[in-house]
């Protein structure tokens, strides 16, 4: 059993905007690229050109259909990675202390030197956010790019997770949830940021912004309200041209 810190100085994490995510997988591959070269063991691939290719990813995008009763079906793209929970069951279950939550910023990490690859943490995580690397037999997970966000070898503007830096639609935001004025705190307040599976009691740090209500989910508009915008001028070209001439003649300078 490993202890969680009672409090962390910062509470770093992501806000993921489900109203904006188009499901392009840019974050998935950028993450794969960065983390193959950086923190800990590379993210390996098995049978990469074969019949059953698979590999380690720290972030994956799932797509779900929602079928409201009286409205057209919808599709939601749902990127998922470690949520860096305050009450992280993956940490407390770890028999060697390899899984831990950092005191300074709340990032949940795996110390690969201490990881014995038992996989208990992956079982404990209700989100399926951890993946055992099949080559190295160590547990891999999102590090929130701990080797980017403080990295003085990177320009300051690049000190953010690779997935956030690359997201073309700007659906991913990184910041400190302990700071009520931060970009992430503001977004959560304004847009009703939500916990994923709050009932699990894990207190995830990452938050999801729900899709805005679709206008096609509302009943078809009453024609009367719109009628003035589309009131026909005339039923034929002749009537229309007469109207246009009269209108233009009324304009100043005509």
């Amino acid at each position: 059993m490993t202890q969680l810190p009672a409090l962390t100085d910062k509470k770093l994490g992501l806000v993921i905007d489900l109203d904006t995510c188009v499901g392009c997988h840019a974050c998935v591959v950028s993450c794969k690229g960065w983390n193959t070269e950086n923190y800990g063991a590379p993210l390996s691939d098995q049978d990469a050109y074969g019949a059953d290719p698979s590999g380690t990813f720290l972030n994956r995008v799932h797509s779900y259909e929602i079928t409201p009763k009286d409205a057209p079906a919808q599709v939601v793209h749902f990127p998922k990675s470690c949520l860096h929970c305050e009450d992280a069951p993956c940490v407390t279950v770890c028999p060697t202390g390899a899984s831990y939550k950092r005191v300074e910023d709340g990032i949940v990490l795996v110390n690969e030197d201490a990881c014995i690859g038992c996989g208990l943490c992956a079982w404990a995580c209700p989100y399926g956010a951890r993946e055992m690397d099949q080559e190295e037999k160590v547990m891999k997970k999102c590090t929130l790019c701990v080797d980017r966000i403080y990295n003085e070898n990177l320009p300051e503007e690049d000190r953010q997770p690779a997935c956030v830096r690359t997201c073309p639609a700007g659906a991913r935001h990184f910041g400190d949830f302990n700071d009520p004025a931060s970009n992430v705190s503001t977004l959560v307040a304004e847009r009703g940021g939500m916990d994923l599976m709050a009932e699990q009691g894990t207190k995830p740090v990452n938050k999801y912004l729900p899709p805005r209500p679709k206008t096609d989910a509302q009943p078809e508009p009453e024609i009367d309200i719109l009628a003035p915008l589309l009131a026909p001028i005339a039923s034929d070209s002749k009537g229309f041209l007469g109207w246009l001439d009269r209108t233009l003649d009324k304009l100043p300078g005509a």
């Binding site: 905007d17 109203d19 904006t20 995510c21 188009v22 499901g23 392009c24 997988h25 840019a26 998935v28 591959v29 950028s30 794969k32 690229g33 070269e37 990469a48 050109y49 074969g50 290719p53 590999g55 797509s63 079928t67 057209p72 079906a73 919808q74 599709v75 793209h77 202390g97 950092r102 030197d113 701990v146 080797d147 403080y150 990295n151 070898n153 690779a162 830096r165 690359t166 073309p168 639609a169 700007g170 659906a171 805005r212 096609d216 078809e220 508009p221 024609i223 719109l226 915008l229 589309l230 009131a231 026909p232 001028i233 005339a234 034929d236 229309f240 041209l241 246009l244 001439d245 209108t247």
Partner: protein
Amino acid sequence: MAQPVLETSPPVSDEVRKTTCYMCACRCGINVHLKKDADGNNRVAYIEGNRDHPVNKGVLCAKGSAGIMQVTAPSRLKAPLKRVGERGEGKFEEISWDEALDLATEWLAPLRDKAPEKLAFFTGRDQSQSFTSLFAQAYGTPNYAAHGGFCSVNMAAAGIYTMGGAFWEFGQPDWDRTKLFMLFGVAEDHDSNPIKMGLGKLKERGAKVIGVNPIRSGYNAIADEWVGITPGTDGLLILSLVHLLMSAGKIDFDYLANYTNAACLVNSDPDSPDYGLILKDDEGRALVMDRAEKRPRCFDKPDVQPDLTAVWENNGITHKPVFHLMLDRYLDKKYAPEAIADQVGISATRIRAIAAEIARVAFDEAIELDQPWTDFRGNKHDKMIGRPVAFHAMRGISAHSNGFQTCRSLHMLQIILGAVETPGGFRFKPPYPKPATAHPKPHSKVTPGAPLDGPHLGYPQGPGDLALDADGNPIRIDKAFSWENPLSAHGMMHMVIANAHAGDPYKIDTLFMYMANMAWNSSMNTAGTIKMLTDKDENGDYVIPRFIYSDAYSSETVAYADLILPDTTYLERHDCISLLDRPICEADAVADAIRWPVIEPDRNVRGFQSVLCELGARLNLPGFVDGEGNQKYADYADYITNHIRRPGIGPLAGFRNADGTGGGRGEANPDQLDAYIENGGFWMEHVPEEASYYKPWNKGYQEWAVAKGFFDAEQPYLFQLYVEPLRRMQAAAEGVGEIQPPEHLRARLREAMDPLPIWTEPFGEQVSHEDYPLHALTQRPMAMYHSWGSQNAWLRQIHGRNPMYVPTKVWEANGFAEGDWAKVSSPHGSITVPVAHMAALNSETIWTWNAIGKRKGAWALDKDAPEATKGFLLNHLISDLLPPKEDGMRYSNSDPVTGQAAWFDLRVRVEKVSAPTEAQPSFPVLPDLGVGQ
């Protein structure tokens, strides 16, 4: 337990080199991080977006980040190959570059002296067309084009003829100002990062997004409103919106009168030889009625007040403004929502609501910018007025046989709102706008042993510009610019193999292709195309005698070629993303870019363009040899630096002149490529503020454009709601003039070449709806571009198979369950494939991802790879020819105006079948090339 001590500032890489991505056609700027391996060689460690780059501003898509795996892909070719077995057997021997170029020269040199048209050179998804076309022109064959004919030529041509540009490379929505954005059809492939960035901006501002697409995936998933339209009816929906907006007077009369040809006068006397043509002065300039002086005056006179209503009678001939013709057509009740609702699959109430929303935003939420500007007539304006409604569309509405007129309809809708080149609407990107008249016309005059008489591709203005011989037969092998498809501005690559095989209009000797997977996903009728490539004549010779192909990977097509010229990856080569070609500018900036070898190839491959520099010299082609007959350009980098297209204009516009200060115009600079590298791989200059909008008519923009070298004289013009070149073709079909279409095409030309946008039923609808009750489409996954990335170890884990998605109604009617398979049949063929349920789908439409399916053995994938056993192509259901007409004629499955391949006209039926061992049709395994890969 204490926390481990972490190094939070580890070194990132040894070096960052900035170049241009080529994982799709978007062409983002990338930072390539390199690390030295044990031998001191540079290895690509990480790729990220370049923050300074005008296209992507730092972001990068899944494909771009996965580019690293293209370099290490086992499917990469290793050396030039010569076929030693039969075509398709995959038996090759590795040869040297000298041997390869000797062989190519041995084939091509005698051909040039005798019959250069017997070389068909088609360059696929080429981004160096201004160079490859120069080669083809110097060689003298009329048979050259890239892949636009099977891609989105309808969008491009409709845009150029109507307003001097279309979407993507030509222009973009005003993402920062638009308040209502309407997206038609699949758009996830072209301009991919800018659209995602734009959607993000709209979402941030809370602007409304309406998605019109039978399938609610990708961008449509985040649209506020989804319009699940019936495929092929977008044009009808658009014309219904036009009907409602015009009927209510919710159109911009001032804009129409001043900046479009709505006030131009059309000869309306059916007995006149000029019937349907626009009244012009002696110098050929269009005339409009002046509202003050009540007489026709030239459209560009400083004080002219173009009148949309007045009619001009002259010598007994009535001339009506184009606007009259528009009213006559679009006020017609046949475009009323009630009349079309069933056909488009959208309720009349919804259609009215969309029109009302457009009207409200365009006119009640109009934008005014305090930016003075001067128009081309010399009138000064204090403000820029915007109608903040923007649109975007690409292949979805293009790839139908009614696509040209549908794209025209969309451009017309934008124009009547006054939402083109105004704040909040659609904005051109330099060097566009550029009207059709400022583009070349097609050239096709062949002289053995000499260059062609001019550029191959262009924009015909009338029957005299068609590529026809003295007997009226097509001169080009693809029959582009013939009466079958007169405005085929991008050629018709999808017809080359079929026509060459049929010897219609003639036999060829050598097929020479680059980056085009014709033996698989780039052809309609894939199995038929493979057969054409392997077919032999009565003498036992191949019907298409020689096939030279250049590719970087062992694609399906490699196995069918006789000589393979192995290309490099995009990280190992020079390229220029040129203003002369397919630019990457932004609405606020002119820009171009380069690729350069950020790593060296570890094998015997060469950039295709550098190979052409040498082949051109061996063939002694003008422009490829110097005065002494020596090779003029050592390689493509040399060409990029030193080629002069017009005085002061070269492939790259930036850092010209010896001191590198020239932007746009200037002498060649020997250090130009170094200057680009220094600057991050691109060059950019901002459009002046006063030139930001109204570009076609803005004196400030026109002057700047001339200074930058986009054109040599100011060329303000009117948007062509009424397209006269179409009318000239239509008039010929009515019997006017000496150049006449064949009888069997007259009726179809009269309808198709309508000078005002129309909607006609797609040709594909002319099959029994009882036998084929459903539409079938493909969508483009954002994480995979055509077949390019399909061997990519990372991307294939995201898109390694492609089920056929089936709507609820069809799912239930067939009693489908998860894991089931279906036989999908069209009039052309059938496939047996896995199905999956999707509710967010038009109830009459099934679909799958494009080009995930692979042939077994290709791309160095295991023969049991899911791409080959469960993945499939829809191409097997699509014929290159339509079913025979009553007279036995079979027309190409293409748009009758441009020849664009009608991929999306497909109708099918679905039947549940027991699961086969693998997707059908199944092709024999392509053999391991043994050498090379």
